[in-house]
C-alpha cells in the first residue's frame, strides 16, 4: 500500500511537470494563434493541476477543500475539452459547405442521443458516495466524459466517412483528448461503484495511479505532435509547372480520346 502511494505520488508529480512543459511549449511555439482553445486547455490543465498539488501539500486545507479543488480542476478541463471538440468540428466543416448542414445536424442529434444515454445511466446507476456532493460530482463527471468520448468518436467516424483531411496537430489534439476522456470515464465508472466516496483504499490509489498514468500518455501525445514539425502531406508540395506531380497521378500523354468520349457522353 505504501509503495503504491509513493508510485502514485511520483506519477502525479510527473503528470503536473509534463503539463507545465506542454504549456511552455504552447507559449514558445505560439500555438495559441492556431489553437486558442487548446492553449487555454493546456494552461488550465497545467496550472489547475499544480494548484491541486499545492492544496494537497498545504496543511491549511482539509479533505473537503481538496475535493472541491479536484472537482473545479476536472470540471474546467472537461468543459474546455468539449468546447475544443466542437470547435475542431465546426472549423473543419467551414471548408466543406456541401456537408456543413448535414454535419451540424448530425452533431446535434448525436449530442442529444449521448445526453439521453448519460441521463439514463445516471438514473439506473447513480454514483455512490458518503455525501451528496461526491455523488453529484461523480454523475456530472461521468456525463461530461461520456459526452466527450461519444463526440470524439462521432468526429473521427464522420471525418473518416467523408474523407475530410486532418491536419496533424489537430489530429494529435483529438487523440490526446480521446485518451484523456476515455480513461477518465473508465476510472469514474469503476470508482463510482467500487470505491465509496473519497475513502483512501487500495483500489482508490490504483485508480488514481491509472488516471494519472493515462494523463501522462495524453500529454506525451500532445507534446510529440507540438514539438514535431507540422506534417505536410505529399500533395501539398505540388507546384503547377513543376515536374513534381502527386504520387497518385500520372501525366496523361494522349488523354484526348478519353475527354472526347466524355464530352460525347455529355452532349
Amino acid at each position: 500500500m505504501l509503495l503504491l502511494t509513493q508510485v502514485w505520488r511520483i506519477v502525479w508529480y510527473a503528470r503536473v511537470t509534463l503539463s507545465l512543459i506542454l504549456f511552455l511549449v504552447v507559449i514558445i511555439r505560439k500555438t495559441y494563434r492556431e489553437f486558442p482553445l487548446f492553449s487555454i486547455h493546456s494552461a488550465w490543465f497545467a496550472l489547475a493541476g499544480a494548484a491541486v498539488l499545492a492544496v494537497d501539500h498545504s496543511p491549511r486545507f482539509d479533505g473537503h477543500q481538496y475535493f472541491a479543488a479536484v472537482a473545479i480542476s476536472n470540471g474546467g478541463e472537461a468543459v474546455l475539452a468539449v468546447a475544443i471538440i466542437y470547435q475542431m468540428f465546426t472549423q473543419r466543416l467551414k471548408q466543406y459547405p456541401a456537408v456543413r448542414n448535414l454535419g451540424n445536424a448530425a452533431y446535434r442529434v448525436s449530442t442529444l442521443l449521448l445526453v439521453v444515454v448519460a441521463v439514463a445511466l445516471a438514473w439506473f446507476s447513480p454514483g455512490l458516495g458518503p455525501g451528496q456532493w461526491t455523488s453529484i460530482y461523480s454523475v456530472i463527471d461521468r456525463t461530461v466524459r461520456l459526452l466527450q468520448c461519444g463526440q470524439l468518436l462521432f468526429l473521427f467516424l464522420f471525418f473518416r466517412y467523408f474523407r475530410l483531411s486532418w491536419r496533424s496537430r489537430a489530429f494529435g489534439i483529438a487523440v490526446g483528448l480521446g485518451i484523456l476522456s476515455s480513461s477518465s470515464l473508465a476510472v469514474n465508472a469503476i470508482r463510482s461503484q467500487a470505491v465509496p466516496g473519497h475513502t483512501m483504499t487500495f483500489t482508490w490509489y490504483l485508480l488514481a495511479l491509472a488516471s494519472d498514468a493515462t494523463s501522462i500518455i495524453a500529454v506525451a501525445v500532445w507534446l510529440t505532435y507540438f514539438l514535431a514539425p507540422e506534417r505536410v502531406p505529399p500533395e501539398d508540395t505540388f507546384k503547377s509547372g513543376d515536374d513534381s506531380h502527386p504520387p497518385d497521378s500520372k501525366l496523361p500523354e494522349h488523354d484526348l480520346e478519353t475527354w472526347n468520349r466524355e464530352l460525347q457522353r455529355l452532349l
Partner: protein
C-alpha cells in the same frame, strides 16, 4: 455494478477505435481503386416505371424476389459511386493546393460534389435496405445519379487543367 463495468470497458476501447480510424486516414484511396459505374443501368434500376412494369407482369412473390435483387444491385452501384467519390476527393485535395486559381476552383467544386455524393449515398443506402424489407415501398435515388454525373463532368473539367490520369474514362 455491471453497467459500470460495461461502461468502463467501452470507454477503454475508444482510444483504440480512434487510432484505428486515424491510421486508416493515412491510407489514401488510389486511382486504381476507381470502378466503373454504369449510370444508365443504375437509373434503370431506380426507375419507378420499370418497377411498375415488373409489378404488373410478375406474380407478387416473384416480383418481390426480383425487386430485392434490383435493390441489392442498386446498393452496390451507390457504394461503388461513393467509393469513386473518395478517390476523386483525394485527387482534388491535391489539386486544390495548386497555385493556378482555375485548377484550384475546379478542384474545390469537385470536392464539394464528391462530399455531396457521399452524403446522398449515406442517406440512400439505408432507404434501399428498408425497401428490400418492404419491396412495395417507393424510394428515389435520383440525387445520387445526378450528383455522380455532375462529378464525372467536373473530373473532365479538372482533367483539362490538372493531371487526372484516365479517371474520367474509368468513371
Amino acid at each position: 455494478m455491471t453497467l459500470s463495468i460495461i461502461l468502463a470497458i467501452l470507454a477503454l476501447t475508444v482510444p483504440f477505435i480512434i487510432i484505428r480510424v486515424g491510421k486508416r486516414r493515412a491510407i489514401a484511396p488510389r486511382i486504381e481503386h476507381i470502378r466503373s459505374v454504369d449510370l444508365r443501368a443504375f437509373r434503370n434500376l431506380m426507375d419507378p416505371e420499370e418497377e411498375e412494369y415488373l409489378r404488373r407482369k410478375l406474380p407478387p412473390a416473384e416480383f418481390r424476389r426480383i425487386q430485392r435483387e434490383r435493390l441489392r444491385t442498386a446498393v452496390e452501384y451507390i457504394q461503388c459511386a461513393a467509393s469513386n467519390a473518395a478517390v476523386l476527393m483525394n485527387l482534388a485535395e491535391a489539386a486544390r493546393r495548386s497555385p493556378d486559381p482555375a485548377t484550384a476552383q475546379a478542384a474545390v467544386k469537385l470536392i464539394d460534389n464528391a462530399v455531396r455524393l457521399r452524403s446522398y449515398a449515406l442517406q440512400a443506402i439505408p432507404k434501399l435496405y428498408l425497401a428490400m424489407m418492404f419491396p412495395g415501398r417507393r424510394i428515389s435515388s435520383a440525387r445520387v445519379a445526378d450528383s455522380y454525373e455532375l462529378m464525372t463532368r467536373q473530373v473532365v473539367l479538372l482533367g483539362l487543367q490538372y493531371p487526372t490520369g484516365e479517371i474520367s474514362g474509368s468513371l
